[in-house]
Each structure stands twice: as C-alpha cells, then as structure tokens.
C-alpha cells in the first residue's frame, strides 16, 4: 500500500492554515508582553461572523467580518488587561468562555436550535500554474485556497515588522523591559493595545478560514482549542516567526493524521486521531523544555503609571 504523500502534505497545510493566523497574532501579542488566552473566543466568534457575512456579501467579506469579530473580542480582552489591569490568564479564560457562549447563543438564535444549519460555498482552490506541478510539495503549497496564500505574505511581513521596523523594536521592547519603552518616549500600554488588536483580528481571520475555506458551516465550539494550541505553539516556536511556522506545521501534521488514517484504511478509533494534535502539542512542549527565550516581561501587568488611563 502506498502512502499518499502529496495528499497528506496538502492536508498538513490545510490543517495548519487557521491555526497559523491565530498563532501569528499570539506571537505579536506575546512579543509585546501580553499572553492572550482569549484567542479561542476570538477564533470562534470570527468563524460565526464570517458565516453570516458570507451569506450576505460573499466569502471575502466573510474573511473581513471574521477579522472584525476577532478584533472586537480582542478589544474586550485589551480593556480588561490594559485599562482595568486584571490578571491576563484569567481574563483570557473568561473571554474565551464569553466568545464560545456568545457564538453558540447567536448561532442557535439564527438557526432555531440547529434545525436548519447554514451552509455556504467554500472558497475554491487556487491552483498556481507550474508551481502546483512541482512533485510532492507542489499541490500542498500551491493548490490551496486564498487564506493560505495570504499567510505566505503574512509570515515574512510579521517577521519584517517585528525585527526591521521601529514599531517592531518598540513592540519587542515592551515585552522585554517596559521602562525602556517609556524612556524612549513611547507608551508600552499603547503598543500592547495595538498588538492585541492585531492579535484579535488575525485570530478572527483564522476562525473565518475554518468556515470560509474549509467547512462551509458553523458548529458550536468549532475552534476546538486552536486558540489554546496557538499559545502553546508560540512557546514551542520560541517566540520567533520561523519557530511558529514549524509549530503550526507540526499541528497540521497531527490533524492530517485523520486524512492519513482514512486514506490508508487504518482501523484507528476516531477519537484517538482527534486527540492527536493536543497530545502531540503537549509532547512537543515537554521535549523542547525551557522557556529561556520568552519575552522577559511576558504576562506581567504594567505599572500603574505605564498603563492606559
């Protein structure tokens, strides 16, 4: 029996795409010094918003609406963390519960108890001529839908912005040593606020990708822990864009096991395949022990004098 390697790789990239948006957002937030555990809520709300907007205005509007919904959730998180200076982890958990509950409530109200699920046509696969014909990796990388290609631009863009622009240096400084940012005449809280906006928006787009590019419909809790995995992936990737990329591909491989099991006719229980990404993430975190490269001020509240308001 041959292993369908190109199909597997295609599934890897596919599975990694929604997570990659969220993880990039989380990377930006954590480099600015904030752990955003509310990502899960942003993803799931982005997913629902994109479904609704796609029905009304089409899939590109869906991606934007998803981002906007994620941004709103990100703003709630930012308000509690930066203005009220509440504990980041707990606020994150609360915001995730809020997002999951809110999306489930609105979805039920829209569909009347899920009796009439809403379906939309998913974005088509865009085959890039010639590149898609490269053996093995061609179809995986160049026969995907729009969001994947956006990521190809987004990863270098985020890396460039973080390391090669003044804004990026200030942002990273806010994550390492906020007093230095103040000394340089910037406000760490404002930097973190903007980072959280970017984070929320990207997570929302990630959720939208789940709907618009993959499933074409919404189900309660369809984010399935991707927000939490994104937090893990950023730590796995040592808070660097390339590391995050490798981390999301790892997750993609774990989720592509489902594809592999199906196409090879393995008799593996469904739930074990479903649990694989979580287990693999935990194992990877244990294997790559230590957090020496974490931003020094990650997760710490700013001093009152440095915070917004």
């Amino acid at each position: 029996m041959t292993i369908p390697i190109d199909g597997f790789l295609e599934a890897v990239v596919r599975g990694a795409t929604p997570l990659a948006f969220a993880a990039l957002g989380e990377l930006v937030a954590e480099r600015s010094g904030v752990i955003n555990l509310g990502l899960e809520g942003a993803i799931v709300c982005g997913a629902l918003a994109s479904l609704v907007a796609t029905v009304a205005f089409g899939p590109s509007a869906g991606l934007l609406a998803g981002g906007s919904a994620g941004l709103c959730i990100g703003l709630i998180f930012a308000f509690f963390v930066l203005v009220l200076r509440a504990q980041q982890i707990i606020v994150g958990a609360a915001v995730s519960i809020l997002g999951l509950g809110l999306s489930a409530t609105v979805h039920r109200a829209l569909t009347g108890g899920g009796a009439s699920a809403i379906h939309v046509a998913t974005l088509p696969e865009l085959r890039i001529p010639f590149l898609a014909d490269i053996p093995i990796i061609g179809p995986a990388l160049f026969s995907q839908s729009l969001p994947t290609y956006i990521l190809y631009a987004l990863f270098p863009l985020v890396a460039y912005a973080l390391y090669r622009t003044i804004g990026g240096v200030v942002l990273r400084a806010a994550g390492e040593h906020p007093p230095a940012v103040i000394a340089a005449g910037h406000s760490p809280a404002k930097v973190q606020f903007m980072a959280l906006c970017v984070c929320g928006f990207l997570a929302g787009v990630g959720g939208a990708t789940l709907v618009v590019a993959q499933t074409g419909t919404f189900s309660d809790g369809m984010s399935a822990g991707r927000g939490f995995i994104a937090v893990a992936v950023v730590a796995l990737g040592r808070w660097r864009p390339v590391g995050v990329l490798l981390g999301v591909l790892l997750f993609g491989s774990a989720s592509a096991l489902q594809f592999l099991a199906q196409s090879l006719g393995w008799n593996v229980p469904y739930n074990i395949v479903l649990a694989a990404p979580y287990v693999l993430t935990l194992l990877a975190m244990a294997a790559l022990r230590g957090s020496g490269s974490a931003p020094a001020a990650l997760g710490r509240a700013l001093n009152r004098s440095a915070s917004l308001v």
Binding site: L84, V95, I229, N271
Partner: protein, 351 residues
C-alpha cells in the same frame, strides 16, 4: 483583596451580579424577546416550587460546588488549574468503569470504590500537568487546558470502545446498577447525596487551608512566591504540585457524583462546560467556602433558569455561559473599580 471590609466586598459582588443580569436582560430585550416572560420563566425554573429547587437548581449546583472548590484550592496556592473540566471527565469515566465492572454487590462497598477510583483518576489527570511542570517546565495553564480536549476525546473513545453498551449502537455505557448509584436526598426529587458530599468537601478544604501547616504553606505560596521561598521552609514547587493534585482529586469526585448521582452512565457531552463555569464560581465566591457555596447555588439557578427560558420563552440556553463569563469579567474588574471609587472619595474628602 486584602484589607477591605466584608460588607463592602459583598456589596460590590452583588453589584457585579446585578449589573451582569441587567446587561444580559437588556441584550435579551434588544434581541426582541419579552423580558418579563423570560424572567418569570427563569425564576420559575430556578426557584418555583420544590421540583425546581431540588431537581433542577440544587442538582446543577452540586458539580459546580465541587469544581468551584477544586479551582479555588489550586488558585489559592497560586496554581492556575484551568483543567477542572478534564479532571471531572477523568473522574466520571473511572466511576463509571468501576460502577459497571467491579465485582462487588453491596452499595456500601461499591460507592466508596467508585469514589476512590474517581478521586484517583482526577488526581492522575492533574498529575500529568504537575509532572509536565516539574519535569519539563511546561506551564500548567496550557497543559491543563490541552488535557481537557484530550479528556473529551478519551471519554469519546471509551464510550465507543471498551465501555460501550453491549449492542454497540449508542456512544454510551450501560446504566449503573442500583447498588452503584448515590441514593436520593429528597424523596421523588433528583437531588442526591453528592450534594452533601460537596458541602463537606467545601468545608473540609477550607478547614485544611485555615488550620493545617500544609494549608498554610499553600496559602503563602499563593500570596507571594518570594515570601514563601525566603521563609526557607516552603518548597513552593512541591506545595503547588500537591495543590494541583488535590484540586484534580476534588474535580474527579465531582465526576463520580455526577455519574453515580445524576446520569447513571457515561456518555460524551456529560459536562456542559462545568469546569469552566467553575472558574467563575470560585472567583465570585472570593475563593472562600461560604462564598463558593453561595455562588455555586447562584450558577446552578442560572443554569436551571436558562433551561426553563429556553423551554418557555425560546431563548437559547447557551446564554447562561455568556452570563457566567460576564459575571467573571465583572469580578475581575472589581479591584480597579474599587480603587477608582476610593480615589474619588479621597478627593471628595480632601475638598
């Protein structure tokens, strides 16, 4: 949270709950539902008569009380255990497995066995996170969260595999036999002895924290890591690992109480997010046993009220978790709000 008077705390918590309720009623009104019908349905469903109180509200209070205590035990020691959901499921699965298969006839033997199995399983599930932290430095926030998803799938696997009912039609176990069930507390009502166990656990946990050396060490570790370490007698890592294990054991017992007292079998979706609501229960209760009992009853009532609103006013019951999140956020906003008020008062007095 230190140095403010009890009545003031109580007042501000009440304000949070009332504000959250008004915010949500406003949303319900804006969504075009009739608020007074909805409110009547909610009140009826939560407190209208003995059935509502014993078979709905207090029945729902029970797991929230256990899990609220579990979360509080960890939080007070400074461990952010967000995995009560997974530990609950581990306990539930163990209780079901023992209840179905242990070669024991009498309830006097069976119930303690189920109890012990569930506590051990919950503790074991938490131990994974404790081990990952101690051995590999993996933060418990991420590991406990991810383990929740593993637990959900593990239950899914069990009820489709080793523990599935013998016709292999439904993803669930056989019902537990009579001797494996917790007796009912009130005749012809669904409230069971798990509720009493939950009360005892809440008070017992509080007693341990207030009156034992271990409890003292845990409290200090939670208040200030550096103070605990400089005292020289407290190995914070070990104390926090023990607190996480204790927290997992209590969450596991909650699983036993739910399976042996309410559902009598294991299936997917056993918990509608009890483990997450429990964070709101614990923090609204200020991590204090009396507070947690009160807030568990409140959230139990919100749950049964929401069910009744869905039946009678067509409002999606999922909004109960929105309300839980809003209350949780309100509690988190309290210190800032109180600081602001205090500053205002000081300014006023200075004038």
């Amino acid at each position: 949270m230190i140095g403010r008077s009890r009545p003031l705390q109580l007042l501000s918590l009440t304000v949070v709950v009332v504000a959250a309720l008004s915010l949500v009623s406003l949303t319900i009104a804006l969504a075009g539902f009739d608020v007074s019908t909805a409110a009547r349905a909610a009140l009826d469903g939560a407190f209208g008569g003995s059935f509502a109180i014993f078979s709905a509200t207090l029945k729902r209070t029970t797991p929230l009380l256990f899990l609220g205590v579990a979360v509080a035990v960890a939080f007070r020691a400074g461990v952010l255990n967000i995995g009560a959901e997974g530990q609950f499921l581990a306990g539930a699965a163990a209780a079901a497995a023992v209840g179905l298969h242990a070669p024991v006839e009498s309830a006097v033997m069976m119930l303690p066995l189920e109890f012990a199995a569930a506590a051990t399983a919950g503790m074991g599930w938490a131990a994974i996170a404790a081990w990952l932290k101690a051995r590999f430095g993996v933060t418990e926030v991420v590991s406990t969260l991810l383990l929740n998803f593993v637990a959900i799938n593990a239950v899914g696997f069990l009820v489709r595999g080793p523990l599935q009912e013998p016709t292999f039609t439904y993803p669930q176990t056989l019902p537990l036999g009579e001797s494996a069930r917790l007796p009912l507390l009130v005749d012809s009502q669904r409230l069971h002895w798990g509720f009493v166990i939950a009360l005892l656990v809440a008070i017992g946990a509080w007693w341990v924290f207030q009156n034992t050396a271990a409890g003292f060490r845990a409290r200090i570790s939670g208040i200030s890591r550096s103070a605990a370490e400089s005292a020289g007698l407290i190995a914070v890592g070990r104390v926090q690992a023990s607190a996480l294990l204790a927290s997992g054991a209590i969450a596991g017992i909650a699983g036993f109480s739910e399976v042996a007292g309410v559902t009598y079998r294991l299936y997917e979706g056993l918990s509608p997010g009890y483990g997450y609501t429990a964070i709101a229960v614990a923090l609204l209760g200020r991590l204090h046993p009396i507070g947690i009992i009160a807030s568990a009853v409140l959230f139990g009532a919100l749950g049964s009220g929401a069910d009744s609103m869905q039946r009678n006013a067509g409002i999606p019951a999922e909004f109960a978790s929105v309300l839980a999140a809003v209350i949780l956020l309100g509690v988190l906003a309290l210190p800032a709000a109180e600081a602001l008020l205090a500053r205002k008062f000081r300014v006023a007095r200075a004038l």
